[in-house]
Amino acid sequence: MEYEVRTPLVKEDILELKAGDVVYITGEMFTARDEAHMRALEYMKGGRELPVEFNRAVVYHCGPLMKKSNGEWVAVSAGPTTSARMNALAPKILERVETMAIVGKGGMNKDVVEALRGKGVYLAYTGGAGALAAQAIKKVKALYWEDLGMPEAVWVFEVERFGPCIVGIDAHGRSLYAEIENKVEENYKKVLSRLESAIDH
């Protein structure tokens, strides 16, 4: 199935998405990588107010390449970063929200699959497709935590039909990545026997 998702997210719509579905996002997305996750968690712990609202948001694992043109920030190239680096951090954010979507690449581990259960989804955008992704970013609405540096800062983007994104992990515990990983393990055992002959050559 193909869906168009708008922000702020509505929980019922998110629960409807199934692993393998194709999603296009319109509305607002903000970027957060390792450093922004760590600072956000620090703020949450200390009861400090965050510059962005994680609840009902689309969090984009992305460190964009930005430039200033006539005094305005423009996204030059803005594809997803490797989400697995946020495996230990994402569940701590997810436990504080009603619903949320993550956009990234490469998938996330079983702790995140559990943390997403009943509330959120993980959406995969093609890794490295930064020039293409930037075409869907219509405006840079805000920049927070600039001191973290360009890749690690929080950038708020206005996007139009950002996609195609594939639902990699749905809110019902199904992960395409886990399924592929299991198959890969099986295949790996089969190829091992073939490998030893390679070196005889």
Partner: protein, 294 residues
């Protein structure tokens, strides 16, 4: 000075100054800037050919959709003259310095200045940070950064090759000090590294392998292997590629028969007591550009 760089990385642009004037500081600075611009915005013909072939042969729908996005992205980057990926990598520069060439300036300083200017002009994302404080100087210049590798070669020319290396694929690379009795287990180690990387390094990947040499030498051989024409492999490399693609990780780790586009192996003599093996993973965006100055 004509600066019309050729599209094909494998045939580097050459220019010669008349009247016996030596290569100067500014030539190197300007060439480094243009090489980064080129590497970031255009893939070499060999790399595009490999991705295109994979797209044609792949029958998994999700895999095809990802490969299609990659090809469209490569076209968009080249048309708009913007970096194809937001991770514009760490600046790695290979220098082949002809032994008959005389340079009366600080070559490393010129390359470093070129990187700082390229960061502003291309633009490149400021990726280089202090390893502990994580402070970002903002221009991709710092301790041992850019990484400059200098080789002295025959001749009277200066060849510069830039290779911006992204972190997604660098992070899943591995090195193992194997035992001399484990020669037959080398292919297994290579396949294992790709398996453990899964979807993290933006597959389909290029697998650079260094066998032999020393701890650091094997890693350097693995990285240099990625500079080769990716469409030319020997029988050993093809067999490992075949095994890697039997894993079924597929483009972006979402399944399919294209996990890697090439396996490229370089070897060096090693100590009789050791067998270092390094596997340097490179995402589909195997970005490099070369120029020859005389």
């Amino acid at each position: 000075m004509n600066r019309a760089f050729l599209v094909n990385f494998l045939k580097p642009f050459e220019f010669t100054k008349s009247g016996g004037i030596m290569v100067n500081y500014d030539d190197v600075v300007n060439t480094v800037v243009e090489l980064f611009k080129k590497a970031e915005t255009e893939l070499g013909e060999d790399v595009i050919k490999a991705i295109q072939k994979a797209y044609e042969e792949e029958d998994n729908e999700v895999a095809r959709s990802n490969l299609k996005a990659i090809l469209e992205n490569v076209q968009a980057a080249s048309r708009l003259k913007v970096p194809m990926c937001q991770d514009t990598g760490l600046p790695i520069v290979f220098v082949e310095l002809g032994r008959e060439l005389c340079l009366d300036f600080d070559l490393k300083k010129a390359i470093t200045e070129g990187v700082a200017i390229a960061t502003e002009k291309v633009p490149l994302r400021p990726n280089a940070v202090h390893p502990l404080t994580r402070q970002n100087p903002g221009n991709n210049v710092g301790m041992h950064m850019p990484q400059i590798n200098i080789d002295i070669v025959e001749g009277d020319s200066l060849k510069l090759t830039v290779m911006p290396k992204g972190a997604g694929s660098e992070n899943v690379s591995a090195l193992k000090m194997m035992l001399p009795s484990q020669v037959k287990e080398i292919p297994k180690f290579i396949v294992e590294v790709v398996k453990n990387a899964g979807g993290k390094p933006c597959p389909p990947v290029f697998v650079g392998v260094g066998i032999g040499s020393t701890f650091d030498g094997a890693a350097k051989l693995a990285k240099k292997a990625l500079l080769r024409n990716v469409t030319e492999m020997n029988e050993f490399e093809r067999q490992i590629l075949d095994a890697v693609n039997s894993l079924g990780i597929g483009p972006m780790g979402l399944g399919g028969k294209t996990t890697a586009l090439a396996v490229l192996v370089e070897m060096g003599h090693c100590h009789t007591a050791s067998l270092p093996v390094a596997v340097n993973i490179q995402c589909w965006a195997n970005r490099r550009a070369s120029a020859v100055l005389r």
